[in-house]
């Protein structure tokens, strides 16, 4: 944990690990986590699609009690992430190699405009943390908090099924 506490200008110090890198910043208490990621850290792969936690475009992974969970970063303040490990879409590919879930989205034409895609991929990986081999029905339920207006979801479901199989085969849980 960082020292925390209100700084002189009303800002609060936070310390987070994002995609493996440590970041320490002083932030306004009301700063949304998604704005911290996008504006402060420049990680613009995480998108904002609504104001009410309905669309899931801002979904990232956060480690809590040793487990990775999908969270909607527009519904958390940056200060609430203090001391946490976070993973965003930018942290998935390793050494220029797409993550199996990213690759499955590409292979299966699971994106069109691509705006919901990062959140959808993070939600899919989040789902696999507690359901490593989901059925199609479970995939549909698992991503029902993520809206896509382009694809009709059919290819997204197909991609997540393929991505989950590949991750299982790799004995891979996250990145």
């Amino acid at each position: 944990m960082s020292e925390g506490g209100a700084a002189a200008n009303g800002r609060i110090g936070i310390k987070v690990v994002v995609n493996g890198s440590i970041h320490e910043d002083k932030v306004e208490p009301r700063l949304l986590l998604v704005h911290y990621l996008r504006e402060t850290l420049g990680l613009t792969g995480t998108h904002v699609g609504c104001d009410t936690t309905n669309c899931g475009a801002c979904t990232i992974l956060m480690e809590a009690e040793g487990k990775w969970r999908a969270v909607k970063s527009c519904t958390m303040f940056a200060v609430q992430a203090d001391g946490r490990k976070l993973l965003t879409i930018e942290g998935l590919a390793k050494d220029g190699e797409l993550h199996p879930m990213q690759n499955a989205f590409w292979e299966n034409h699971a994106l069109q405009c691509g705006y919901c895609t990062p959140g959808m991929i993070m939600a899919a990986i989040g789902l696999l943390q507690y359901k490593p081999e989901p059925t199609e029905e479970e995939v549909r339920k698992g991503i029902s908090g993520n809206l896509c207006r382009c694809t009709g979801y059919q290819n997204i479901v197909k991609a997540i099924m393929q991505g989950s199989k590949q991750m299982s085969a790799n004995k891979q849980t996250i990145g």
Partner: protein
């Protein structure tokens, strides 16, 4: 006319028609795409808007002094600050029947819908801007308002806008010569009132603008999430009173549009003006609440239909009155979108007489504009809902009724009932028969009867459609093809992709023409500085019109390279372009690589006399004729008798979209369109309260389909050949959304018919369907 990419490259397998995965996807899946809000420029200021809380009000005064005094605020603008500095928003053009309205960039004296912008605050960040907007004090005088378009046309109705006392934006009527005779020959007249509710296009990326002014070169660059960069340039130039060359539009990656990003909005002009004034980049990103409230809505028609029919099911004539809900201002979109509906209302059928009246009513809502299909889904909805009602009334199977009325294969080219469109080619019977076969229609009817005997309500809904795409020759689409000295190819596309995936299908066209690998074809879009002209991505015209422009430019490149190759090699006769080589057919031993010839084109000494060096060609394509995609979709639903909820059991789409450039991409368009259309049938409705307040201002109230509501879809095709463009492509962007709304609504109604009930409006939410199920049939 040469109608398809010629297959003269005998030995090279064509790439057109192959399901190649999309070249642009890697940047999206790793989070490296560049949407407007991802562009971070130093010194950027943030705009936010003060909006009307009333559906209709007089603005008595605005006090911005407190907002201006707050720390971090750079500018607060109201209509008074803009008066005489910039122009007004465009209204309607070109049709004298349309009644223009005046619309200021920021509402002046009168605001006409909830959410209309009355002031803009520009501050150092979005949080400060939002705080300061709270400090702007507006003195309002609420005025009577009207949101129901039927009521708006009553003499006693409040006016939606003080400058149009009759609330009429547009009136359009026609009657075909044979109408009266056809109508009077009927055995029976079947009447219906159909409600095609207003819906919100809801792209996942909201509207976004970032304007940057460079005083030294007097250039205003506007990054904007848009479907039509050149029209955006022209509109911003016009409102700001600037020459067109001094405005550059860059529409980078765009997160969906569906018709809602065709027009220029007040915020776009205000933000652009602020950037010029402040000489700082100014950004505005729309919130979802603003999107649902102030971004154009689609559909919104009340259709009163009388169908004159014979006992045997032949439909003779249609008498239609349509009241369209245009919203608060007359715009091109709010009147020309519904205009197509009566013109296409006879659908796939050989109906000879039609009488139509369209009245576009002004209401206190955000203006209506195109939404995926733009006027044609409303036409298909009208005729396909009628076919269902006629089938029930005459006790004829809905499939049989359609077969009885279809325009037959031997009747093309076929001028439709309105006389406004001539369908070039189609096979409606073939499409319907294929759909019924794939869905096992006869067995479904047996299953339905069996389920009913167990008390379950299964419904089968059929919708056939024909639509019109391309919309030439008034909107020529453009492209350029450049071959660089290293033998790589760049397409600059006049048509803008925002999910449709132009890159790969267009690269496939170029690959087949020039014999280069698809992966060597680069793709640029959305920058008005890269082409002389371009037109809108709409009407499913990117493939047929934009793709043809790409082909034309590639052909010019090919011609030039052939000439150069002949000179270099000293050969005559046919030359093949394949596998990255340029091969003289008569002396193949003289083969050169594509790259070598490209390189030579940059070297004046190697070129024929009078030939200009470099390798760049531009093409503008303006087809004289439209295309007419057609097909039949079948939806199977179960209606839960206890809860009223509707579950999709099966969905089959059979489409004739002509030649397919890339089936992976085409099928994706169908999937997305179908789910958007079923969203309208089952979930989506923009709704306003009695007092004119918007009730669906978040995605908690405005329900978009999730993965749980979306069915597993089966897509099949039939193909008839169109000569309306160079590629033989008909267009696929809108077919799904056009067919699925009536297919799903007809399926639910088919289930309700089983127990003697029917539904008048949409969406068929559990609550609505339950209320129909529970209503006492004797008091229905």
């Amino acid at each position: 006319m040469v109608s398809v990419v010629e297959t003269r490259r005998q030995n090279q397998e064509l790439t057109v028609g192959k399901p190649l995965k999309r070249a642009e996807d890697p940047r999206f899946v790793v989070g490296a795409a560049r949407f407007v809000d991802d562009i971070k420029l130093q010194g950027t200021l943030y705009a936010t808007f003060v909006r009307s809380p009333y559906p209709h009000a007089r603005i008595k005064s605005i006090d911005v002094s407190k907002a201006l005094k707050s720390s971090g605020v750079y500018l607060v603008l109201t209509a008074r600050d803009l008066a005489g500095k910039i122009g007004e928003m465009p209204t309607v053009e070109g049709d004298k029947r349309a009644k223009p309205t005046r619309r200021h960039v920021l509402a002046f004296e009168e605001s006409r819908y909830e959410g209309e912008a009355v002031a803009m605050v520009v501050a150092e960040d979005m949080y400060v801007a939002a705080d300061a907007a709270e400090l702007v004090e507006v003195e309002w005088e609420p005025l009577p308002s009207v949101t129901d378009p039927e009521k708006a046309l009553n003499d006693q109705s409040p006016v939606a806008g003080l400058d149009r006392p009759d609330n009429v934006a547009y009136r359009y009527t026609f009657e075909t010569p044979g109408f009266k005779d056809a109508f009077s020959a009927a055995d029976t007249v079947i009447e219906a009132r159909l409600v095609n509710q207003r819906v919100a296009p809801s792209p996942m990326e909201t509207r976004s603008v970032l304007a940057v002014y460079e005083p030294g070169i007097d250039l205003l660059t506007v990054y904007i999430s848009h479907q039509d960069p050149f029209a955006a340039r022209d509109a911003i130039a016009s409102i700001l009173g600037r020459p067109k060359p001094s405005v550059r539009i860059i529409s980078p990656d765009v997160g969906g549009a569906f018709g809602s990003k065709i027009s220029i909005y007040p915020e776009d002009a205000a933000v652009s003006y602020a950037a010029v004034l402040l000489r700082r980049p100014v950004k505005w990103i729309e919130s979802r609440r603003e999107n649902l409230m102030t971004t154009t809505h689609g559909r919104g028609q009340i259709q009163l239909v009388k169908a004159a029919v014979k006992k045997d099911g032949r439909v003779l004539a249609l008498d239609i009155r349509i009241i369209a809900d245009s919203g608060a201002y007359t715009t091109d979109g709010s009147v020309y979108t519904p205009k197509i509906t009566p013109e296409m209302a006879s659908g796939n059928y050989d109906i000879r007489g039609i009488k139509a009246e369209l009245v576009c009513a002004l209401t206190n809502k955000v203006p209506q504009d195109a939404y995926r299909g733009a006027g044609r889904p409303e036409a298909t909805f009208l005729i396909e809902r009628m076919m269902n009602l006629i089938a029930r009334e005459l006790k004829i199977d809905p499939v049989e009724l359609r077969l009885k009325n279809f325009v037959r294969k031997d009747m093309f080219p076929y001028k439709n009932a309105s006389g406004r469109f001539t369908y070039d080619i189609g096979d409606y019977e073939g499409g319907l028969k294929k759909a019924t076969k794939v869905v096992s229609y006869d067995r479904l009817r047996e299953d339905q009867a069996r389920a009913l005997s167990q008390g379950r309500l299964i419904g089968v809904g059929v919708a056939s459609y024909v639509e019109v795409c391309g919309f030439g020759p008034n909107y020529p689409q453009t492209a350029s093809v450049t071959v660089t000295e290293d033998g790589k190819v760049i397409i600059n596309s006049g048509t803008h992709p925002h999910g449709q995936g132009h890159h790969t299908p267009f690269a496939q066209v170029v690959s087949d023409e020039l014999g280069v690998d698809v992966s060597d074809v680069y793709f640029n879009h959305g920058d008005t500085s890269s082409l002389p002209y371009g037109t809108v991505t709409a009407g499913s015209r990117s493939g047929p019109v934009g793709g043809s422009a790409v082909l034309l430019a590639a052909r010019k490149i090919r011609k030039k390279m052939e000439t150069v190759a002949r000179k270099l090699l000293g050969v005559d006769g046919e030359i093949q372009f394949r596998d990255g080589k340029i091969i003289p057919l008569m002396s193949p031993e003289k083969t050169m690589t594509f790259r070598e010839v490209a390189e030579a084109c940059y070297n004046p000494s190697k070129l024929p006399q009078d030939m200009e060096p470099t390798l760049y060609e531009y093409a503008a394509y303006a087809p004289a004729a439209n295309t007419f995609p057609a097909g039949t979709h079948v939806a199977v639903v179960e209606v839960d008798r206890e809860t009223g909820s509707v579950r999709l059991l099966k969905y089959v789409a059979v489409d004739d979209i002509g030649r397919v450039l890339n089936p992976l991409v085409a099928e994706g368009q169908v999937h997305g369109g179908v789910v958007q259309g079923l969203g309208q049938a089952l979930l989506e409705a923009v709704s306003y309260g009695q007092d004119g307040q918007l009730l669906t201002s978040t995605l908690s109230e405005y329900l978009l389909p999730t993965a749980c509501e979306a069915p597993q879809m089966i897509w099949e095709r039939t193909e008839t050949y169109t000569a309306s463009n160079l590629l033989g492509v008909k267009g696929v962007g809108e077919t799904g959304a056009i067919a699925s709304t009536p297919a799903v609504a007809n399926a639910v109604e088919d289930a309700l018919f089983l127990i003697g009930k029917h539904a008048e409006s949409m969406p068929l939410t559990p609550e609505y369907t339950w209320s129909i199920l529970k209503a006492d049939p004797h008091h229905h």
